[in-house]
Symmetry: C2
Subunit: 235 residues, 2 copies
């Protein structure tokens, strides 16, 4: 996928880690190989599948000793079950991470809306996972989605001013219509929303995924420590 | 090593890559496992060697298909030959990358000084490699080194103001004494020098390493393309 999203996720893992020194940081093995077929075209049936390349990466992570894996691309979660099967590793799913982040809020929101690419919308995994967990996820209408997609392209092209001009009026109107939380299911949208009044009502799915990675790793190392201590007590 | 230096290097690889889309970016496999013994203590003879852990990582990179490797930590280059032997992969050496960056300047400097941690100084690979290439590398005196080390610690502690107060008077005086270029052989120092008047006279070794990675990868993929085209012409 795009390497910027991988670097963004790694930085957010560092930011979310309670570390006093290098050794406290989360061990990460990273397969950052963007030479894989376009995800959006594949979902639309217009191009080759990225699954073989993603499987290869996930299998390598498992062989190298990974105990779980995460995917730093929302759209690519469309194929998450196939990759999980191939790697025989648990996936820390970005939609589950976003849902946990939403639930940890003091006042869980009533009306939650997904801001994402058309590819992620079409992939439907956010809606499915939120619905199964009893949370209805709303989607923007078509003309709003066009502006959101254009805002994402503006960020990719480095035009943050244009991105804000496109996105903020849409978010303002959606809030007026009763939306009280946004799930930012795209790695570019948090860059637009950062330091804006919308930040407090928004869940950055990539940041939520970073927290899920840190939580998994800390629980895992505590489990190992507890087992070792228990072993010592028994000996 | 420290995960922040790895993320910094990856971001600089992205910045240095002439990419029009995701697929144009450099494929990177990253072993970011900071649970390895302290490098500085090991060089001083006060702690266990980090070599077994670094070897394990490098061997995994080779097995996963890496064609060359780089180390996102200046000090750890102390053991570069042992890691290179174990991985049987060419190392893109950070001191060679800094030397190339220095030479690509319009006016190659006369008097070059290394700003680094005491561990990197003690490791001596910058001096050795620069001398072999016919470039004398100067080192700061002891009291200057103490201020440089304190500035690095200030950045690590998040106090950029204090870091500048410590480092800039030293650099100003060194320039007055005839130093006309600085090699920033530490991933923290570029964060202090960034956007300062010293930036134009400084080589960021981590940025130079990122350029070396991009150059290697582009030469490699051109070589593959040329061979394929040649094969087609012969067929």
């Amino acid at each position: 996928m795009g390497p910027a999203a991988t670097v963004d996720l790694m930085q957010k893992v560092i930011d979310a880690t309670p570390a006093r020194n290098d050794q406290d940081h989360i061990p990460l093995i990273v397969w950052n190989v963007p030479q894989i077929p376009e995800r959006l075209a594949a979902i639309a049936g217009d191009g080759p599948s990225p699954v073989p390349a993603m499987r290869e990466g996930a299998i390598w992570l498992a062989r190298a000793g990974a105990e779980a894996f995460a995917i730093a691309c929302n759209t690519a979660h469309y194929w998450s079950a196939e990759i999980e099967d191939a790697a025989r590793l648990p996936l820390l799913h970005i939609a589950d991470a976003a849902l946990s982040a939403l639930r940890s809020r003091q006042l869980p929101p009533d009306k939650v809306m997904l801001l994402a690419t058309t590819g992620t919308r079409r992939a439907r995994f956010y809606d499915d996972r939120f619905r199964r967990a009893g949370c209805d996820l709303h989607l923007p209408g078509e003309s709003d989605q066009d502006r959101i997609s254009a805002a994402i392209l503006s960020v990719k092209a480095g035009d943050d001013v244009r991105a804000r001009e496109l996105l903020f009026p849409v978010m303002t109107r959606l809030q007026a219509e009763g939306v009280d939380a946004f799930v930012l299911g795209c790695t570019e949208i948090p860059l637009i929303v950062r330091n804006s009044p919308f930040e407090a009502q928004s869940i950055d799915a990539n940041a939520a995924l970073a927290h899920a990675i840190v939580d998994f790793s800390l629980r895992r190392s505590h489990a190992v420590t507890d087992a070792a201590q228990h072993g010592n007590q028994m000996a």
